[in-house]
Symmetry: C2
């Protein structure tokens, strides 16, 4: 913990992994590509879960839980879904181990082979819709608005903590509606909920938009996403909301009787965010000293570091203890670092690595002068504050830091978002890193060619697109859409 | 939902499954032995999670998350653990599906075979201790007090919703300590936390005690459990806390450097409760009308059922709406059932099945007389209440119902707990159902013989045992322990 991290400018990927591990957010597990989320990282995930749950409930959703294991045959039912998902999955083939007759280890019991292999869910549409078939008969049973918090496995060869691991945690909403209009409204409402949480709680500005055909979720008729810019100017898809039309209802034969007694297929959206959001927070706000956490999600918002020698120890710890009590009374999550065995400098580095928004230093001289030294992690330097008012001022200060982190991310994104004038400028921008806002002729072949040349993809067709008068950045043909291009995680 | 359930007296097992399904707590999933926890059941689980999390945090624990998939070889490391667990597990052998060259389905890619098979966690000691090895170096790193909420798979052939399913949800605490005394203290503290939650929140009295050698967790040196009596007089183990000694530290070579610079093995407790608790709540409190939920965990504590005809509809709904607002202001979870398409009688049955603690009926005549009809689900009949004071009285009433459910369960248990005078009386009691409190000579063979004869097991050696002067119920030898025998789930 005491050692620093690789500077971002030197190796961004290495910086990222260093921060995640040194801030004790997560570690690699024993199986390649798996992740252990450590208490500090998990506390952030719990704060995010609470922020989402409040809004899911306010929009009429309920949590539930569907099984981890799905029959293999289910994945063949929805054709597009098969293509996109059913490849890199964990397959359960047996259900028993026995003692190795030739040694002292364990072997898989060859007699305990499953008749049909089971898949660890890579996403749950298939199992959810197999249950909806049982629960839905009439229009009175609709809408169903269910969310689940669950673990997901998608086999990955190249993994990175939080961003891409074989197992990750997420929430997946699966709702069932009587009309196409209602399904469309739900799909849009949930991407807006995602935007709100990511912007207001994570302090991370996002672009809301639709995916092109080639980037859509397998089985969806429309996919909305929120896209954020990371510190290396690449895009990170931070949440998606899909309108699945009637595809899954068809695949699982889910119909309902309408009020006027007709039989109709049910309409389906699904939407999800994952522990990837923690990776986004690290990359968007972090610096060479480590994490910078938005106050609303920080497990510890303020740390008090008492500075003492043997002879001042008890007086300083007593004043620090009183300050911590006052701060806690303000509803602020505060921690006192009263460790004896490390230096103040070590502690400063430690809490900067952990991204705690505010540090308060308190020494004998400060106490004598009735003040404390206050250090903001968002980078506005040190300042003295009257000890008496410091606790009461913290809620407003934390709000200010929350806004400041958002503003910094927004300015960074603005600085690296351009409207390239021509194909050469576009290529230069994609090579340097950043978002290009420009015209696209709507042809998937153009999109593929751009990706082949620059590795950039269309992140989205933004909600506020205006293609009027634009031409395609690559072909010069009239633009069908104004889009955001970027290289992405 | 409208139809009743099989009476308990007719077929207890069928009654149980009927209630779980008709109250919409859970359903069977598509794979044999898997369970879908529906929103109403999941809301109870969330309330339980919150109750446990509060106490876990208060006792210094932090939540984290460890991987689902564990290398097969890990299960060979701790010998006793292998014997007890490593048999009926789900084994992942492959990581890819491909299109069937001979058809249009999907087959497992024979090329994508894992070098080492992976096991879906049946419990996480092995993976947790493999990480603790990385995190623990010195006495300064101890204690580690981590809990995780996770899904678990143990292959089961005969399953029952909540009580025994191949996949279930649970929490598992895994802590690491420098001394045997601290590990023992942790083990005891957590069984006491379990007792408190189950008794205070679930309104279910339990017996706290230690397991005999034969009933201990595989790998543990001591297992504590809480045992509750169900409505059919059988016992249900509702939570366990294990002192694992240094067994897992040995198996995973986890040592720490002491303050005086010696190298020692770390001490380990682990403890868990699962969604089984929801099954316990159904069986301990339910009746032939359905669930009876303890108010503290009930997703809906009070339901208001307006009773109206076309001409009184708007006046009654207006008064009911006002009442619901008043009740919500008391911090009570309330629901208004204003459905038009079903009768009041249907609604009464519906909410009784769902176990809502209090129902308030409100019709035009009640409103004219300034009263409401209040019905307690714990069985104390109907009574009129002045409409004005009804909301304010509800928190106290809910507390009273919470206590009344506990008292009913306690009386039921007392009625069916006996001190059998001799072996014949013991056998009769076990055949009829109930708890026997009696002496046991401490011999595992005696224990096994009693089980063979009566299917009863030693549920625990209760915390307050007093074997002085007792003789063994089976052999007549001096008793080594006073124990609780019962047939169990």
């Amino acid at each position: 913990m005491s050692k620093g991290v690789t500077p971002r400018s030197q190796d961004y990927a290495r910086w990222y992994t260093d921060v995640v591990q040194k801030a004790e957010l997560a570690d690699y597990g024993p199986v390649k590509g798996t992740m252990v989320i450590r208490p500090y990282g998990y506390a952030i995930w719990e704060a995010l879960q609470a922020a989402f749950n409040r809004r899911f409930k306010a929009t009429g959703h309920q949590n539930a839980y569907f099984p981890l294991l799905i029959p293999k045959s289910y994945f063949s039912r929805e054709a597009a879904h098969v293509k996109g998902f059913a490849k890199e999955v964990a397959v359960v083939t047996h259900y028993r181990l026995i003692n190795d007759p030739d040694g002292d280890g364990l072997i898989v019991d060859p007699e305990a082979r499953l008749e049909e292999e089971l898949i660890i869910r890579p996403t749950s549409e298939t199992v959810v819709w197999s249950m909806y078939k049982q629960w839905i008969n009439s229009y009175r049973d609709l809408p169903i608005k269910i969310n689940q918090w669950a673990n997901i496995v998608r086999w990955e060869m190249r993994t990175r903590l939080f961003l891409r691991t074989s197992e990750f945690l997420w929430q997946e909403g699966h709702t069932a509606h009587a009309t196409a209009a209602e399904a469309d409204e739900e799909t849009r409402q949930m991407i807006e909920v995602y935007r709100e949480v990511v912007e207001e709680e994570m302090a991370l500005p996002v672009i809301v938009g639709r995916k092109t055909d080639s980037e859509r979720f397998p089985g969806a008729v429309e996919t909305w996403s929120i896209e954020a810019m990371m510190g290396d100017r690449r895009a990170l898809q931070s949440g998606t909301s899909h309108n699945l039309g009637q595809n899954f209802a068809k695949a699982f034969d889910v119909t309902f009787r309408t009020e006027d007694n007709r039989e109709e297929l049910v309409w389906a959206p699904s939407w999800g965010v994952s522990t990837r959001l923690i990776g986004a927070m690290v990359m968007a706000h972090g610096d060479d000293k480590g994490l910078r956490l938005p106050p609303r999600l920080a497990p510890i918002q303020v740390v008090v570091v008492p500075i003492f020698k043997d002879d001042t120890r008890s007086a300083v710890l007593s004043a620090a203890g009183k300050l911590v009590t006052d701060i806690a009374h303000q509803g602020v999550r505060v921690e006192l670092d009263d460790r004896d065995n490390v230096s103040p400098g070590f502690k400063f580095n430690h809490w900067e690595m952990k991204g705690v928004p505010v540090r308060i230093e308190l020494g004998p001289k400060d106490i004598a002068e009735g003040k404390a030294v206050l250090v903001r992690r968002d980078g506005d330097g040190k300042e003295d504050r009257a000890l008496q008012g410091v606790a009461a001022g913290l809620p407003a200060l934390l709000d200010d830091i929350q806004r400041s982190l958002f503003r910094q991310a927004e300015e960074f994104r603005a600085e690296h978002t351009h409207v390239p004038e021509n194909w050469e400028a576009f290529k230069a921008l994609m090579a340097a890193g950043g978002f290009a806002r420009c015209g696209w002729d709507g042809d998937p072949q153009t999109e593929a060619a751009i990706k082949a040349d620059t590795k950039a993809t269309i992140r989205c067709i933004p909600l506020d697109e205006d293609p009027t008068g634009l031409t395609c950045i690559r072909t010069g043909k009239p633009a069908r859409h104004e889009v955001i291009f970027a290289r992405a995680y």
